[in-house]
Symmetry: C2
């Protein structure tokens, strides 16, 4: 039996351990145990615990970054189609980088070390991009949003990012169906937020912005 370097196994084991217990509660002993070695031996492959976290988080983060670039580059499709692409891609990332993507979400915005600052920045870029995407939809009249794009963007991001608490991959097809459902919910909310439905009549006339600029 060939004995490949255990680095990838350790990263994978760390991802699962971080997801189940959280980075702080996960121990190198338990991570090592997953690949059948003791914690001291882990250091034959790993420089530090933080390096493991970085490795876990790196791949989904890069995938998300690529999606961000794609979203910004795409100016041809309608806003709805771009949003659909966004939702589908994010669900795909959850499935493909499971559970690493969940570890990323658990820690985003809370990274301490400067080595992770790029991820926090990326997160801000991501929400800003969605925000301006929605603003574009309003500007071009594709839908009419009574509220602020900042709120809608955060609602959509929340819907997607909260998936870490309930989503498990069920194959490409089922995951795509799920993405469709989420997309329909998101897009419908945008269309309806113009005040179509009677229940919202007379409310939501926003004078002052409700989300601070810093967000």
């Amino acid at each position: 039996m060939p004995r490949p370097s255990r680095w990838p196994d350790l990263v994978h084991a760390a991802g699962e351990e971080f997801r189940e217990r959280g980075y702080d509660n996960a121990t190198l002993e338990s991570i090592g145990a997953r690949v059948g070695i003791l914690k001291g031996s882990v250091y034959n492959y790993v420089g530090s615990k933080e390096e493991l976290l970085l490795a876990v988080v790196e791949q989904p983060a890069r995938a998300l970054l690529a999606e961000l670039d794609r979203l910004r580059a795409d100016t041809g499709s309608s806003v709805a189609m771009r949003l659909r692409e966004l939702v589908h891609t994010q669900v795909r990332i959850f499935a493909d980088y499971y559970p690493a993507a969940f570890v990323y979400l658990q820690h985003v915005g809370r990274f301490r070390s400067p080595a992770f600052a790029q991820f926090d920045d990326m997160d801000k870029d991501y929400i800003a991009a969605i925000e301006s995407l929605l603003a574009e939809g309003v500007r071009t009249g594709e839908f009419s949003l009574a509220g602020e794009p900042a709120v809608a963007a955060r609602a959509i991001v929340g819907m997607l990012d909260w998936m870490q608490h309930w989503f498990t991959p069920h194959g490409e097809e089922a995951d795509a169906r799920l993405a469709d459902q989420l997309f329909a919910l998101a897009l419908g909310g945008l269309h309806a937020a113009g005040g179509v439905h009677g229940v919202t009549k007379g409310i939501g006339r926003t004078a002052a912005p409700v989300v601070p600029p810093g967000g």
Copy 2:
């Protein structure tokens, strides 16, 4: 100058510390420092660190539990109005119990100690209640949901619970406006998810459920 017991101050300080650093990274020394005493003195008021977490999380949890009861008891109003009430109440809880409510959300579903098991149970009840609320809306024809109520419920919960990453209280009025926006987004998504909009045509015909029963 009267010298009240420092228990409430300590709970408040702990709430802020837990929110900013996370429970694990927060130290009794830093919590004590916030009220001007050393960590040894903290134990004049506090039995353990976990007791502090319990105290922080208790009040917002009770408020949420009350909302859950209210939601279940209310069978007179329309599903939309009940959903509106739900959204408004949750935003109010965020504002009133800031930052304690955020600490609760950070830890919900991840509590280790049996003293916190009740909260995890409550969380499950909460999402189940929303799920059956949406199912009722479909049954009575108030809206037509092509997807599964389980998905829509989780999308709404995600939208609300993710607020921990961006919401800060801005006064009763502004917060209510924000709740209205969120409600409009949620309700619109439900109405539209029946397949009203052309973009969703031909997709989202769910044959197999996409969220496992255990969720």
